[in-house]
């Protein structure tokens, strides 16, 4: 029995992930469609770009929530992992891949739900069908983005377990979300250099998701149509590079995992 299957089942039935990954994000879609859309030019291109930008940003937030939720559960099983790597056939690589697979399954399901929500809410708001231009590309970009977020979350949790102590988990847990907000919103309004956008994984995710939904190349400033276009192969390369680095680092950190008591994480 593979580990990926029980992990996928556990994530799919996790109410907390569904709430913060879907329900809370749906709330943002409603805000985006009905509150923040004032002053938007009434053209098909403007509406498509606006919808795609919201989808890209919120999908990244959702994947962040999902990944941190899955990775944090490792803190309950540090002894099992320390034992498992020594005295069973479980390997750090196999475990890391199981987490990735679980995130991919949950990411796919969330992706479909998010796509449906975005298409539904924004189409209703603008009175025209704003469907994703390339659903297959959306799925591909979501998988790659999910792999990055899962790798990042795993590395962060393992740094806490192995080096910082569990009391710091509640602080570190928010880092990916804070970075997602920072970089996610920056590409919406700021003219960042192209090399930075290719190197920054959050912007790679946003650019790829934007292009997959809209069918048009992402631009350096997503809300400004005239800014320079970004090349999706470079975004894919940048993001894939980050995924490889994070999977490698997390595998090394997993191999050195320290057995800690979950009670070490108690704050009060």
């Amino acid at each position: 029995m593979s580990l990926a299957l029980p992990y996928a089942r556990a994530t799919l039935t996790n109410r907390s992930l569904w709430f913060w990954g879907v329900v809370f994000m749906a709330f943002w879609f409603v805000l985006g469609a009905y509150v923040f859309s004032g002053g938007l030019g009434a053209t098909r291109a403007a509406e498509t770009g606006y919808t795609s930008a919201w989808f890209a940003v919120i999908a990244v937030f959702s994947l962040t929530t999902l990944s941190m939720g899955i990775a944090s559960s490792m803190t309950y099983g540090t002894s099992a992992l320390a034992f498992g790597f020594r005295y069973t056939r479980l390997t750090p690589g196999r475990y890391a891949l199981s987490l990735l697979a679980a995130a991919a399954v949950m990411g796919l399901v969330l992706g479909v739900v998010m796509l449906t929500l975005v298409a539904g809410v924004f189409s209703l708001r603008f009175g025209t069908a704003l469907l994703p231009a390339d659903p297959a590309a959306v799925v591909g970009a979501s998988l790659l983005a999910g792999a990055f977020m899962m790798g990042l979350a795993t590395v962060l949790v393992l740094v806490v377990v192995n080096h910082l102590g569990l009391r710091n988990l509640s602080f570190v847990e928010f880092l990916p979300l804070v970075l997602s907000y920072l970089f996610g919103f920056s590409q919406l309004f700021l003219a960042l250099p192209a090399w930075f956008l290719y190197l920054c994984p959050w912007n790679d995710m946003e650019s790829l998701l934007y292009e997959a939904y809209s069918g048009s190349p992402a631009t350096q400033v997503l809300t400004r149509g005239g800014s320079a276009s970004l090349a999706w192969p470079l975004s894919v390369a940048g993001l894939a590079g980050w995924v490889l680095v994070l999977v490698g680092v997390s595998t090394v950190l997993l191999g050195r995992i320290r057995a800690v008591s979950i009670l070490e994480g108690r704050q009060v």
Partner: protein, 283 residues
């Protein structure tokens, strides 16, 4: 019991097993926890090769820490632990080690039945034997519940059975009889007697020793491992304050040296029902 090796078969298997490195080799192990003055385990050494030993000591004497060090769950300050010749710090995929420590089975929150399937995959061994034992121990109802939903005694027994259920060559047991009723305790002792694995068993219960007279015996006190004796000799062992001439061994406690002798001494070890009070008794 179904699936249990008979004593004769076990002996034959042991005799047929080629001589290799010891199942467990602990050399001058010291474990220190931050914020604590005393070492949890202090310069402990032990070698276990195809035999069974019991470590007896009061609560907090370091028995569990010794076992956790052998499982790679705590990091030694100094010394080393090897399992089948492999340094525990760097050991990978050393199959055939079983334990009843519940925390090593908390890879994820799943019912015991699915945990068995998962362990079957991770150990590369069938879980049929454990499933049969669960039935014999009248524990079939646990299959649909996760470990944390079981009573303390049930969880302990499930851990005990998992420890010996996947053809282990080394079994490390921490207080396997805590909260376990007498009948099931006897059954499990029978099961341990029949296994051909090397066994290290921690307990604070002296009464257990009469049931396993042929096992090796160590005392653990203030992190020190004292021995090796024979469990069947428990009635002949005495402890005394100071360095007694002709003592089997002498060790140093925070209140001075203590000697262990055979057939005479200040206090008969068997009369110290709780080793926590050993110091008071021999003072």
């Amino acid at each position: 019991m179904s699936g249990v090796t008979t004593p004769a078969a076990a002996r034959a298997h042991v005799e047929a097993t080629p001589v290799g490195p010891p199942a467990l080799e602990v050399r001058h192990l010291t474990v220190r926890f931050p914020g604590l003055e005393a070492d949890a385990v202090a310069d402990a050494s032990l070698s276990l090769s195809r035999d069974k030993v019991v470590v007896v000591g009061p609560n907090g004497s370091g028995k569990s820490t010794l076992l956790q060090a052998a499982l790679g769950l705590v990091t030694p300050a100094s010394g080393s632990v090897e399992v089948f010749g492999r340094d525990v710090r760097t050991a990978r995929a050393v199959l055939g080690v079983g334990t009843n420590l519940e925390e090593v089975y908390r890879l994820m929150t799943i019912p015991v039945g699915r945990l068995l399937s998962l362990w079957e995959d991770l150990q590369g061994r069938s879980s049929d034997r454990v499933r049969a034992w669960l039935e014999e121990f009248q524990l079939s109802s646990v299959l649909s519940r996760p470990l944390f939903r079981l009573s303390t005694g049930q969880a302990k027994l499930v851990g005990d059975l998992l420890a010996v259920g996947f053809d282990p060559r080394l079994v490390l047991l921490d207080e396997p009889f805590d909260n376990v009723d007498f009948a099931r305790r006897q059954r499990y002792l029978d099961l341990l007697a029949r296994t051909d694995a090397s066994v290290l068993l921690n307990t604070h219960q002296f009464d257990l020793l009469n049931a396993i007279p042929d096992w090796g015996l160590y005392l653990m006190f203030e992190g020190q491992l004292i021995g090796r004796f024979r469990a069947g000799d428990i009635d002949r062992l005495y402890v005394s304050a100071g360095e007694l001439p002709g003592a089997l061994t002498t060790f140093t406690t925070r209140s001075g040296p203590v000697s262990v002798s055979r057939d005479s001494g200040r206090v008969a070890l068997r009369s110290v029902s709780d080793l926590s009070y050993l110091k008071d008794r021999i003072a």
